[in-house]
């Protein structure tokens, strides 16, 4: 039997982890940090392996079905409607940088931007991407350029019109974005990424020109503003799924399945923990247990 390389790597990693831990435990070696819960390390290794496995499976052509996300389907509608009305499409992906814990949302926002850019190329729409993150300027220019070029509309690409770095100071960026929305009379306002207090500013400014609004973030405190005011919204993790769908890349989509495994694992742990509580055992102690010998 031929074992594929993809399956081999997670198996080797997990087996090595088990072996090393077992030996260390038998020899009473303080192998792991006494401050971090050991369960966290196991979860990390397990999820990384699972994700890798799913990504590898796509190489052999395995398709992964994904739940429909209405807000994602609405992006095409938004672009098409803007073209009909002769108004530009505005996209921004927020205020978090790739060098922070908000990086996943930033990457997802970038995915949505590239999807929107391709659609703009397809329908011949004008795209305005505003940003407040200096590290992202080059990337954004590239993504928008590629969107137009891949649709065969290079003549529509104009870097100073399409990509506007406004400033990195939160509210200066917000004030410039809200002005852009109104002065350019945008027809669609697509706002996906990490957002702070400026979220509602973008939504209300978009509403003043009756733009079709699609918004999403995984930042807890800002989700309500998007859910309550946008036409379509991505709630929390739907942002990551949207980013993966938008990238159109099978491997990225497969990695989303790794996240699903993590959620199932959390569900199982909670249910198991409660059942064990019924039997009088505290699983919480096991989860919080840190590697301590002696």
């Amino acid at each position: 039997m031929k074992v594929s390389r993809g399956l081999l790597i997670p198996i080797v990693v997990l087996a090595l982890t088990a072996l090393v831990s077992g030996v260390a435990w038998a020899l009473r070696i303080q192998l792991y940090s006494p401050r971090a819960p050991f369960s966290a390390f196991l979860i990390l290794v397990g999820l990384l392996s699972a994700g890798y496995l799913f990504m590898h499976e796509t190489k052999s052509g395995k398709e992964i079905p994904v739940r429909r996300i209405p807000a994602f389907d609405a992006i095409e509608e938004a672009v098409a409607r803007s073209v009909e009305m002769g108004r530009p499409v505005h996209v921004t992906f927020g205020f978090g940088t790739i060098s922070s814990a908000h990086a996943p949302q930033y990457v997802a926002g970038l995915g949505v931007l590239s999807h929107a850019a391709r659609l703009c190329g397809k329908y011949g729409a004008k795209l305005i991407a505003t940003l407040g993150v200096p590290e992202a300027i080059a990337t954004t220019e590239e993504v928008v350029r590629e969107g137009y070029y891949s649709a065969g509309r290079p003549e529509l690409y104009d870097p100073t019109y399409n990509v506007r770095y406004l400033t990195d100071q939160q509210f200066a960026y917000a004030s410039a974005v809200q002005a852009t929305l109104i002065r350019e009379n945008v027809g669609a306002n697509i706002v996906v990424g990490p957002f702070y207090a400026e979220s509602l500013i973008f939504m209300e400014a978009g509403n003043m020109v009756n733009a079709f609004q699609i918004a999403g973030t995984a930042r807890e405190t800002q989700i309500p503003f998007f859910v309550l005011t946008a036409d379509y919204s991505f709630i929390g993790e739907e942002v990551f799924a949207a980013g993966a769908l938008a990238s159109g890349d099978k491997e990225t989509l497969a990695s989303i399945r790794g996240q699903d495994v993590g959620k199932l694992l959390s569900i199982v742990l909670v249910i198991l923990g409660i059942l064990m509580l019924l039997a009088g055992t505290k699983m919480v102690d096991a989860l919080n247990w840190a590697w301590k010998v002696g």
């Binding site: 006494p34 990384l48 770095y165 509210f171 004030s175 807890e220 993790e237 993590g262």
Partner: protein, 229 residues
Amino acid sequence: MSLVVRRYAPQAIVTIIILLTVMFFYFYVNPETSEAFSRADKALSDWVVVITSFALIVGGIDILRFHLVRMRKEGLRQAPFSAVTISLLVLMVLFALHGWYLSYADPAAGIAITTQPQFRWLYLNVYAPADAAVYSILVFYMASASYRAFRVRNPMALLLLVVALIVIFGNTTVGGLLWPGFLSLRDWVMTVPNTAAFRPITIGAGLGIIILGLRLLTWREVSWMGRRE
């Protein structure tokens, strides 16, 4: 060769740094190693501060270019405004540089980059009020958003409205006049259902971080690189 220095070497740097930071956090050798590691940790954070500072300076140049292009292209309707932005930007930087110079030339005066007097004047009288005003303009937007958002179109919207009203009446003294129970009901809403609602989102955000880490480790995530070859 060119692909090696252009793509693979940066990706390898990413993989190595991520692996090291994660491994040293979970593994344990001896107290000295932990000590050395936490020093290295601090140094790496400082590295990011230094690199981000350069990114901000590059960003400043981009803003300058953006407004210069607009002045040229968009004519009189935009040019005066772009000129305002450019001159204030340049002025702020000049004042900051002056403050920097003074902090070395005359340390006794106690003037540094951000405390240079003209710089402070611009900061206090232009930047600070504008910043606070944009932040607080949200109060207007909250009002108009509430007016639109809390329309009872379906059962879910009714639920939203009821919860919002409980919180509104619990937060204000008028609510206490209507029914004293609003305060404790509000406290309950904010502690029980509110906590429960955001817990799955927090877990999801953590999973997103892990999976992005995986894509970076396996060189599948290349969006940060910008231009493609």
